[in-house]
Amino acid sequence: MSKEKITICEDLADIMPPEYQELVATATYGKEDRGWRDVGSSKELIESHSLCAGCPESIAFRYVMASVPAPEDTVFVGSTGCTSLVFPHVAIQNIHSLFGNQNAIASGLHRALKVRFPDQQKDVVVLAGDGATVDIGLDMTLQSWFRQEKFTTICFDNELYANTGGQESGLMQRGFVSKMAPAGKLFDKVRLPEIARESGCHYVACLTVSKPNRVEKVIKNAIYVSRVFGPSFVQLYTPCILEIGKQSMEGLDEMKDAESIGGRFVFKEYMTDEVKNFLKQKDDEDKARKKAAKNK
């Protein structure tokens, strides 16, 4: 959707809510170099969120929305959970249908968009929690990768079911005591990045959201790769501060701990050589373009 399409007709402009007016005035639709640096100064497509104060998921949302390369032609697919409370605030069309079927919805959606807009790049991005991705929806997550569906899957991993009150999930660490795991979780955190790599994802990244520039890079890589090669997967640690007993201001520390040496979320990236070359080339082009723009 171009910016032109969201422009308000003059007669109705005064009755439109301010957030919409602001979207029209400052949205980064169509801006080639949009990224996390726009957060705060421009519209990163998200209005006030409805998550807990200090929730790392809320900042993860902002970074993701700011990093999506072409929001004007992107459709998000979500699933039930904390993320589904945020999407109504987002200025990108989003589908929430059921719990766990997000990769099935995305499969049908991106194929339909391909049929309807054969000459246009439409990005489909799945954004769901760990319960939806790994437990109830694992079948559909994996099958979409096996089928080489060309869209990106992002998992907000908070290592438990947060929206329903902190139950055990497959991505929870072993031994953690939670609801439905009263004696501590009995098996290991599911190794989803490795499963994704072996299931046909061409680009896989696992990280926390402590470093916005890294999140931006990874999201852009994943979407670029999905356009050309096939499925890509990004797992982001967004700790549930509430359920792990942290204060609102402690989310960042928790993520930094988790990504330090020996932690569960040390940054890792898997990609094929082909993808590596492709991303390198894209980087070089971007640099050259930015340099040229600067010299103008």
């Binding site: 959707m1 987002v90 249908s97 079927n101 194929r111 968009l113 309807r116």
Partner: protein
């Protein structure tokens, strides 16, 4: 709202984004459905599965998702052959019915005309999706080739799954024959996609009795096809980032437990039900009526849907030979339920028999809930487990009511 519509008015309202008479990439001419039905070919002798394929061929479908389950597997595979020939935009095998219905939903959210098929246990595995489709106002068509769902396992026809579908918010039509199925698949899209309806539709038929039986069918020429779906006539925005509004709510009320969220949900459910009722006028315009009646002035009537109608027609012939006169009401649509039509048709009946291919007797309950003096309704005969319903059994039930002695029927295996 709900103004009576002159049913003789020809033509069904359709999108303006293509003109009738234009050709698609396969050279088929976009044609109004009423005109299509008026240009029949010489009769063909086909199985129900082949008929599903042939209807899909002229239905301008963008995408179909398949999954094997008896008895719809043949039809689902045949649609794949049409895709290979270029008649569909996309087609693939999903991983389970729950996933398939999600994939169909995704495609419909993205503005595609979507068709799929399922049966029995597959219908139930998919179930969470159906009320979601209706609530999301996705005009997907699923052809349900009914099959038993209880344990012990059966692959035989049994219409119990239709009972489960009744309150999903979908349109539910019940084909008697392969001819009905062909007509309903084409008409189904045109009705379901109307802006004041815009709901999913289940075109049901009895598995095997229709899908695997060879029967005579009048089709339309392959050189014409339905006008394509226009997602921008949808009452809810199409999720393709081509049309505002994008969402910018300060407070997403729907997921909060407050008064406005209850109110929104309740009124939306009522709207879905109202939309089902609004489909009547469009259905009548294309199919002529929601019911078919024969000799409803008679004191004994049979009310039925699906294959039970066929068996009843034969039973009526059989009884006629013995001087017993019985009338017939065939229900084409179950949702919307043809209340007014049924009350009118049964006004003078003294006894109403409702033969069914399931042991719950759901249709008899629907009929009883609809007409006055419902002690007139005799729920039966009913067969379960996919058994055949011999006409002799229907005739015997009616004769027993009339106090006419009957020979006990020798059943198989006796």
């Amino acid at each position: 709202m709900n103004k009576p519509v002159g049913v003789k008015e020809k033509g069904v309202k359709m999108s303006q984004h293509v003109k009738l008479g234009q050709k698609n990439k396969k050279g088929q001419v976009y044609t109004d459905i009423v005109d299509m039905f008026n240009m029949p070919e010489p009769p063909s002798f086909l199985t129900g599965s082949e008929v599903i394929r042939d209807a899909v061929k002229v239905a301008s479908i963008d995408l179909s998702v398949a999954y094997p389950i008896t008895p719809q597997s043949e039809a689902a595979a045949l649609i794949g052959e049409l895709y290979a020939e270029g008649y569909l935009g996309d087609y693939f095998r999903g991983e389970s019915e729950f996933a398939v219905m999600g994939q169909c939903a995704g495609a419909a959210f993205g503005g595609a005309r979507v068709f799929t098929t399922t049966a029995g246990p597959g219908t139930l595995r998919a179930f969470e999706n159906f009320p979601m489709w209706a609530g999301a106002r996705l005009p997907i068509q699923v052809c349900v080739t009914c099959r038993g769902i209880n344990s012990p396992l059966t692959i035989q026809p049994d219409t119990l799954e239709m009972y489960f579908l009744l309150e999903t918010g979908m349109l539910i039509w019940h084909a008697e024959t392969a001819q009905d199925l062909y007509d309903y698949i084409l008409a189904g899209f045109m009705v379901a996609e109307q802006p004041d309806v815009h709901l999913p539709i289940a075109t049901c038929c009895d598995g095997f009795f229709v899908t695997h039986t060879k029967d005579t069918v009048n089709k339309v020429p392959d050189e014409v096809c339905l006008p394509p779906y226009d997602p921008y006539r949808s009452p809810v925005p199409c999720m393709d980032m081509e049309n505002p509004p994008v969402r910018m709510m300060r407070d997403p009320f729907v997921m909060k437990s407050n008064y406005i969220s209850y109110s929104t949900h309740a009124s939306w459910q009522q709207e879905v039900r109202a939309a089902i009722e609004r489909s009547r006028k469009h259905t009548i315009r294309i199919l002529g009526s929601l019911v078919e009646t024969q000799n409803t002035d008679r004191e004994i009537l049979i009310v039925a849907s699906g294959t039970a109608v066929s068996q009843s027609r034969e039973a009526i012939r059989l009884l006629e030979e013995e001087g017993i006169k019985v009338g017939l009401v065939k229900l084409k649509t179950i949702r919307p339920f043809p209340h007014a039509e049924l009350r009118e048709a049964t006004a003078n009946a003294k006894a109403i028999f409702v033969p069914e291919f399931n042991l719950s007797g759901w249709l008899a309950r629907e009929v009883k809930a609809c007409i006055p003096n419902n002690e007139r309704v005799h729920a039966g005969p009913q067969v379960g487990g996919g058994m055949t319903m011999p006409l002799e059994v229907i005739a015997e039930e009616i004769k027993r009511y009339l106090g006419i002695p009957t020979e006990t029927l020798a059943s198989r295996g006796s």
